[in-house]
Amino acid sequence: MNDILLSAAYLAAAILFILGLKGLNSPETARRGLLLAEIGMLLAVVGTLLHGEIIQYQWILVGLVVGSTIGALMAIFMPMTAMPQRIAISHSFGALAATLVGIVEYYQRSLTIDHGTMAALGFEVLFGSLTITGSLMAFGKLQELVKSAPITYRFQNVSNILLFVAMVGVFVFLIFSPGMSAFFYGMIAAGLVFGVLIVLPIGGADMPVVLSLLNSYAGLASAATGLVINNNVLLIAGALDGTSGFFLSMMMSRAMNRSFTNVLFGAVGAVKPGAQTQEEVRTVTRYTPEDAAFILGNAQSVMIIPGYGMAVAQAQHAVQELAELLMQRGTTVRYAIHPVAGRMPGHMNVLLAEANVPYDLLYEPEQINDDFSSTDVALVIGANDVVNPAARYKKDSPLYGMPILNADQAQTVIVLKRSLSPGFAGEDNELFYEKKTMMIFGDAKATLTGLIQLLKKTAPAESLPLS
């Protein structure tokens, strides 16, 4: 295939990618958009395969077959609850591909490389290498292969910053003398180490920001690859991925009222020794599912607030069943979804969609927060920090300033929780001690199933004689 046809295929691919993302603006057009992006990808790949530069196909075929098999198996059998892990590991694969292409380019051309290309190449392997290990660490934490709480040690930030400065120094040096291959490979090694170190102090609830940032880095590494090999479709696709990740991390940080720097270097949720012992002893009243079933059965309106605990207990189907039952009884049921609930952007939405919850029942905090005061029951399922009133006024709290869901304004608050342990931020939640709050401890799924059974036994409110 000649160059003009290949360029045309790449151009078409770039346009289709952008149109594909545009389709994601609405759930109705999303699948059609995805199809456009798929066609774009097919065009770009087939065009490249038919190009004269490629002379042997056997290894390409091996890679394509093995990759497709692994990718398809993961896509078909991965449970939706494992979605954050899958996203993390895929950032790692993307960055690995970009880094390896960068190494090949350097290996082939190291003696003739110019300064501009070296700069792009440096970006490519730096972002690439730190994303490979950073994403693997994030995967490990999400899969709980690595302790998911922040891992901190003395001089952590100082040593990370020193390593970073050293990497940048080597990078600048390489731009001026691209031939020094030892420095090039040293920089990659440093990038790999840096990726591990930067994710170590990051705890579970900060994962949405970190996943988004790594998404952005993987994209930037791809874009830099495009700069190195003068390939515009790579540039454009990389730029789209990079900005999307950047946009998401911005949204997530804003939803927590924290800056990137704070997320990366703040190590919120690290266990501070001795901190919890000096707290005054407060008691909560435990309620039984019977109490909750009575309240829910008489409620006109219920707002469900899911959190990471719902994902852990895999309780999304039970939640849907309970909501369906309540709606059949004439109760208004809506879901209030906080952007950082869960471990990745949109985590709760995907789980509830899996459980067949119609998406027009899902609301963002800005849409729904004013409605809590006229709601009978706020049903909090495995969420904690996103309903902690301390975020409004307690200035020394790590949560301070974070926009929360106004669950405390509802008539009654029912909280399903495994134990009274504080949320990720380590901040005790006074909502749990309030008089109108009913705490029900135990596995969320088991509790919900119990509630469903109890509600099925009792008659809907309107069949009772009015007095």
Binding site: F17, I18, L21, L24, P27, A30, L34, M41, T48, Q56, I60, V62, G63, V66, G67, G71, A72, M74, A75, M78, M83, I87, S90, F93, G94, L96, A97, L100, V101, V104, E105, Y107, H115, A120, S212, N215, A221, L227, N230, L234, L235, A237, G238, A239, L240, G242, T243, S244, F247, L248, M344, P345, G346, N349, V350, A353, Y359, D360, L361, E364
Partner: protein, 98 residues
């Protein structure tokens, strides 16, 4: 630095702006599918990997290229498939059916 490098930078920056404007309108509801779509799209580094694996320049190039092709294909195939699986689940309410 040659002109070609700067032309590429132009494209990069402009594509970034376009991307930001398009992605800004994606509702939080679809943020996970957004992430997995862009991830699949950035599997476009497959294009570079194919050249590395198939141009027969050296053993190093073929070996690393093949690994890169595998990794990128996992993202492209897996990313598109799982996004579609997710998007299929999003539906509106159908009151009348019940």
């Amino acid at each position: 630095m040659n002109n070609m490098f700067f032309e590429s930078l132009y494209i990069l920056v402009l594509a970034g702006f376009v991307g930001f404007e398009v992605i800004r309108k994606v509702p939080p509801l679809l943020h996970t599918p957004l992430m997995s779509t862009t991830n699949a799209i950035s599997g476009i580094s497959l294009v570079g990997s194919l050249v590395a694996a198939g141009s027969g320049q050296s053993v190093v190039s073929t070996v690393l290229g093949t690994i890169a092709v595998t990794a990128a294909t996992i993202n492209v195939v897996g990313g598109f498939m799982i996004t579609d699986r997710m998007l299929k689940m999003f539906r509106r309410k159908e009151r009348k059916a019940r």
